[in-house]
Structure formats: structure tokens, C-alpha cells
């Protein structure tokens, strides 16, 4: 066993490198800047490219171009940058461009507080695109997760050809932590599935039962078209409502129908518990502390930590929550993911603890809610 000292943002950078990311573009913003710093330090050494865009829109635009040229790409920002990314994110969703976006959340709204943490963009990441089609959002709890989930994020982006968010938080990303690098649970690296170059290529064509089109890069032998406009399989504008409808359904299904394959979570059931706390991100750590204190005081409480937030891992939540009447949802905002929990657990008593003051929710506050409702 050996130990490494790293902050969350450095771990995101290393995870990206290990996943095969060779292109990064970003615009400095606290608390995401150290991802950019890490990539600037690492990428050139790995034969990769690191760029600083003139703004966030350019940075993500560089990534979209490089991704379509066949590279694994990442950008990193915080809430104000996600706002600027919005139109490009819609493009990446609709035109199936693989991309990893690290969103190191800080306290909003707007410019908010650069050095205070929050989980205020949870619904924004999901719905902050025109058209409302789904994205994948993974939420790390600690530095180790930043590393592992970044590798998963790349795998998912490549597999489903879509933007994948890492929903970090200043409180993880800028916290330095000791962890065992050799004990990481690393997945195999997934590569984008290339089309058979000997067959006629249509950039958005899928065969029966396939949801994600095979890829060929812009700049290769075969001519490739990419477009942000509503398109048919050939990548030309279409006005055929049948074709349009099928394509939108496919974009929805390719991600939502497969969520069970990438539902990351940690279930910590306690014997005799009547209450289940559901949390994600850094708040899960306070919940763990609270649960262990409650346990030693004689009140067993179960805990579910969600690491895949979008698409909502409904099966996981439903099956784990089934045996509890009382659910407590805790998050670092004034009530966002709790809406999903309420939606998929009708009939259950769902209590909520949320706070948005720039500080971590404390174990004592959680205990208080569990004890007194």
C-alpha cells in the first residue's frame, strides 16, 4: 500500500490522461483552474494539446472540433462557464460529439462566490441545453472518485457519443487528500467505435438495434460531415418529420435506456434502519459521519450515495428505497435532486435538508433532521 497526496482537480487531470484524453481547452476560473494547470503540465508530455481559449465558448468549441477530428477531449469550468457553454453543449448532444466537461461547482447564482462550494448546478447540467435531451452526469464524493469517475466519464462519452459531466464541487476539487493510487478500481478504457471504412459511410446512420452511430474522424480518408442543424443520417439538413422524430427518440434512448449499465452508487444499509438518507457529492461524507454517530448512539440509519445523477438511476433508487418508509434527501442547494427522488418514490415520506451558504452541511445538522424530522 502506498499513499499519494492530491487535490480533486489534479485527480480529474490524471484520470483524464489515463483515460486517453489528449486534448484539453479551458478558460481559467476558480475553482476549476487547477484542472487546466494540471493538463498544461501533463498533456504536452503525453504528446497532447492543451489550449487556453479566449473565453469559455471558444474553449469548448476547440474541444468539439478536436473531438470530431478523433481525439478524446475535456474542458473544465464552473457555473458561469457552464452558462457560456450552453449552446455548445446543445450542439454536442444533438450532433453526438464525445466530450467530458468537468464542472467544479461553486456557490451561485451568477458569479456568486468563487471560493465557496455548492451543488447548485445539478438540474442546470441536465436541463441547460436547448432541446432538453439527456446528458450523463457523474458526481464524485472524494479525490479517489475524481480519478475513477473521470475515467468512466471518458468511457461513457466515447461509447454514447455525448457530453458527460463530472459534477465536482470546490469542496472536493480544491481539497487535498491522501489516498492509495494503487487501490483504485479502474475500468478498462473504452475507445470510440469506428465505422468500417470499406463500407459507404453515413455519419449519423445506425443499424437495427444500434443507438449510437459509428464514428469516423474529420480529416481521415473518408469524407465526414458534421452539422449542428437537424439532420438525417447523411448529415444534411432534413425536414422529414419522421426522420427528425426517430432521431430525437434515438438520442433520448441511447442514454436513458442504458443507465443501468452505468449506475454508479454506494449502498450502505444498516440493520434495523427505518430511515434511508440519499445523498451525492461531498455532502455524502458528512452523511457518513452523521450515520456512524447515530449508529453509535443506537439509531441505525441506512445511506445511499448516488454517483450517477443523470440519467436518474431510477431502478437503483426504487429498489434500495423499497424497504424504507422514511427517506431523507440531503444536498448542498435549496432542493434540486430531491425533486427526482420525490418523482420516483411517490407515497414515501421524503424529508429534505438543503443549505446554500458556502459551507459544508455538517454531520450535526444531518443528525438533527434524522432525529427530529
Amino acid at each position: 500500500m502506498s499513499y499519494t497526496v492530491m487535490e480533486g482537480n489534479e485527480a480529474i487531470g490524471w484520470g483524464a490522461i489515463v483515460a486517453g484524453c489528449r486534448f484539453f481547452a479551458g478558460y481559467p476560473i476558480t475553482p476549476a483552474t487547477t484542472i487546466y494547470n494540471t493538463m498544461l503540465k501533463l498533456l504536452p508530455d503525453f504528446g497532447g494539446i492543451c489550449m487556453q481559449g479566449e473565453d469559455e465558448i471558444a474553449s469548448i468549441g476547440f474541444c468539439l472540433g478536436a473531438s470530431m477530428a478523433g481525439m478524446k477531449v475535456m474542458t473544465a469550468t464552473s457555473g458561469p462557464g457552464i452558462s457560456l457553454y450552453s449552446e455548445q453543449i446543445s450542439f454536442a448532444i444533438g450532433s453526438e460529439i464525445p466530450l467530458v466537461i468537468a464542472n467544479v461547482q461553486r456557490l451561485g447564482p451568477s458569479t456568486g462566490s468563487a471560493t465557496k462550494g455548492a451543488d447548485g448546478d445539478i438540474q442546470f447540467m441536465r436541463w441547460g441545453n436547448s432541446g432538453g435531451l439527456p446528458v450523463i452526469v457523474l458526481a464524485p464524493v472524494d479525490v479517489k472518485d475524481c480519478y475513477e469517475l473521470t475515467v468512466h466519464a471518458f468511457n461513457l462519452a466515447e461509447k454514447y457519443r455525448c457530453p458527460v459531466f463530472i459534477a465536482a464541487n470546490k469542496e472536493i476539487s480544491m481539497t487535498r487528500e491522501v489516498f492509495d493510487l494503487d487501490a483504485l478500481n479502474m475500468p478498462d478504457i473504452v475507445e470510440r467505435k469506428n465505422a468500417d471504412p470499406s463500407r459507404p459511410f453515413k455519419p449519423f446512420d445506425v443499424s437495427d438495434g444500434q443507438y449510437t452511430p459509428d464514428f469516423l474522424p474529420i480529416g481521415g480518408e473518408t469524407i465526414v460531415r458534421q452539422t449542428s442543424s437537424t439532420h438525417g443520417p447523411e448529415g444534411y439538413i432534413t425536414t422529414d418529420s419522421g426522420q427528425i422524430g426517430n432521431n430525437q427518440d434515438r438520442l433520448m434512448k441511447k442514454i436513458v435506456s442504458d443507465v443501468e449499465r452505468f449506475s454508479f452508487y454506494e449502498s450502505l444499509p444498516a440493520k434495523g434502519a427505518e430511515t434511508l438518507i440519499i445523498s451525492y457529492g461531498v455532502t455524502s461524507r458528512a452523511v457518513k459521519t452523521a450515520v456512524s454517530r447515530l449508529g453509535s448512539e443506537g439509531l441505525p440509519v441506512s445511506h445511499l450515495i448516488l454517483k450517477t445523477l443523470w440519467p436518474v438511476p431510477e431502478k437503483v433508487i426504487k429498489s434500495i428505497a423499497a424497504s424504507y418508509n422514511r427517506i431523507v434527501s440531503v444536498e448542498m442547494n435549496l432542493g434540486q435532486y430531491v425533486r427526482e427522488i420525490q418523482r420516483i418514490l411517490p407515497g414515501k415520506e421524503i424529508e429534505f435538508l438543503g443549505r446554500m451558504n458556502g459551507e459544508l452541511i455538517t454531520p450535526e445538522q444531518i443528525k438533527e433532521v434524522v432525529n427530529n424530522g
Binding site: 502506498s2 499513499y3 478536436a66 477530428a69 487535498r176 491522501v178 493510487l181 480518408e221
Partner: protein, 433 residues
Amino acid sequence: MDSLLNPNRPPVFCPGCAHDRVVHSLDNTFRKMGLSGNQIVIVTDIGCSGLFDTFFETHAFHGLHGRALTYATGIKMARPDLHVVVTMGDGGLGIGGAHVLSSCRRNIDITLLVLNNFNYGMTGGQCSVTTPQNANVGSGFLNRLEKPVDICQVAGAAGAAFVSRASSYEKELEDKIEKAIRFEGFSLVDIWGICPGRYSRRNKLSPKIIEAQLSAMPKLDNFMQQNLRKEYGKAYCEHIQVKTPAPAPLKIEKRYQPPLQANEQIVFLGSAGQRIITAAELVCLAGATAGLFATQKNDYPITVMRGHSVSELILSKEQIDYTGIEKPSIIFALAQEGINRRKKIFDNLSEETLVIKAAGVEIPATGAEVEEIDFKTLKIKTQDWALASLAMIANENRGISMEMLDTAMMQRFKGSILEDSRKIVSTIAIKYK
């Protein structure tokens, strides 16, 4: 070479549209240059000029309004061998102005063809950044209030070497486009043309008038001389070749037994320049040498060399869940800025908390055990107080031991810094022997 025009998708502009001529000129240029479709990517913006990619059998990338240059930049960096041609109207120039300026500054090998017809054709002829003030356009009187921009002078001032103007109707157009494509760096051709669908319905404009207007424009010759330099991608590659290899993450083996009292919540209250964050990092590293878990959170303002510097550390034999400090066991009160920032921390402390306080700083009344140390008489400079404080707790085997601290210093420092740091630690060790 054959035409690269798509036989199945002939250009569909309004009759007489200047864009149609440019499509053919561009195709002729590609032909003359002997390029095949897979050696080219046409990146298009939004508007009528945004249709260009669909008429060609080349790689194509059509994206959001104003952002064409951003995609083109990513593609060119990833595929330096491709010829990257961007078509953009005067609308894209305005909405994507920052990207135009930055592309000029960057000098990446992209050819930007500006299809400049002085208005937004597709949305009904509203004014753009190049609409003359006396023109009649779809934005009522609004264009009279704003001066049009000469993108060529702007581009030259922003660092573009290859800047030229052309008429859609002139014989030299293909030549100019070819030179722009061949130029190794960012090139911009401002191609003036008529939009009969919108603009010339209410404004008198002809190829002749355009020619006359173009000849009256300021010369652009100087920019080539002034701005000629290495292409961005090439320069990038040269830079990274001389870069020193990135170090792999440092792995620390457990080699010591942790002190009996290993679980600590430590808060450093200092100021910028006191190397608070480095000292806190040393605690993490020291902890790792004894298999302890640690978390470190820092708080400092945006100013450098001024203001508070606060670091919160947890050391534990067990995995650390909650990273907040609930009950500090050790507080280093080293500067007024940090103490003032976290005054509340001194409320409700008992003797279980040890406060190590530098002589000369004031702390609020507290129930904690306070130990004052006069670093000045020990000739320890303020930037070393945090390190000296660590030596004090290591000396008492709280959280870290002397050997753990020494190993951490060896991981973190080299040469004279390591020597100086060791001297400070031994000064403390001698004093508290």
C-alpha cells in the same frame, strides 16, 4: 483535378447572389491547387454563407453562429495536415468577434473567407457590423447610430499577417483565395458581394460600385511585414519538444508507526507569505509516511502576498469522511489576518485544544490551552513560523513525529531549502528538548 462541388446538391442562393460566385471560385481554387475532398475541411458559420459546406464534397463542419473559428482551431490542432477553410458572413464577424481577434493573434493556419454583404440576408436584411450608416436595412434607423467596422484593419491590428479584400466579381478572387490557403498562418479575405435578396433591393450596389469602394479603402500591405511569424501549431510543437517530462504522482510508502495521538484537527491561521499551505501539505505528506489519512482545505483571498491564509487539516488513522473542522485539536495562530478571519473558532474551546500562538498576535479569549512562542528571539523569520510550529507538534509526537516531518520535507524540498527547513526544525527541537 475534378470539381469538388457536390453534384447532388447544387448551390441554392437567391438569383444573382454573390455567394454563388464565391462557391465556384472556391471550387476552382481547390481544383487549381490539386486538392481532393479529404484534404479539406470547410467549417461554416450561420446564415446564407453557412450553406457552403453542403455544396462541396469535402469534410464539413457546420456549427453555431459566430463560433466557426473555434471548431476550426480544434480541428487544425488535431489534424495539422488538413486545409481548414472557414466561411462566415458579416454576421459571424460581429457575434464571434472575440474569436476573430483571437485567431488573428494566434496565427493558426486557418483561412477565413468573410462573405461580406453588409447585412443579415437570412433573417430579413438587418444591419450587421459592416452595414454603412447611410444604408437602408431591416433594422430601421438603428444602423445610422453605429459605425461599420473595417475587419481588415482590425485583423491586422490584432496580429493577422495575411489580410486582403476582394470583390466577389473580380478576376483575381481565385488567386487571392489560393494565396490565403497557401499562407502558413491565419489568413483573412474580406470578400464583398451583393445580396440581391435583401440588401440591394433598397440600396444601390453593383460590382462597379464595389470595385470603386474597395479601391478607396486603406492599404493593408504593412500587416504582412509587421505580423509575419511562426504558425501557432508549429510553434506549439516546438515548445513542447523542449518541455521537461511531467512527474508521475508521488507515491509514499508507509515506513513509520504513527504517533499514539494521531487523530488531529489542525487549523493554521496565518497570512500570505507565511507558507501556510506548504506547511499544511507537509502534514499530509508526513501523515502518508505513517499510513495516516489526511485532508487539507485552504482559504485565501485573490490577492497575492497580502491578506489571510488559512488551512484546515484533518489527520486520522481511519478514512476521513466529513472534511470540516468540528473541534480543532491544534490551532496555529500565526498572524492577525488569519485569526480575524476565523474569530469564531475560538468560541467554546476547552483545554483539549492546544493553541500555539506567535508572540505579538492577539487572539480572542478562549478556554483552550495557549502556548506562546516568540519566534523572533529564536531568529525564525515570519515565513518559517508555520514550519516551526509543525516542529513543535512533531517534537511532542502529536499527529506527526520528527521522523515523519523530516521525510515529508525530503519529499517536498530540495537543496538549500531542505537544509534551511531542517535548521528551523532543529532550532525548535533544541529549544524544547
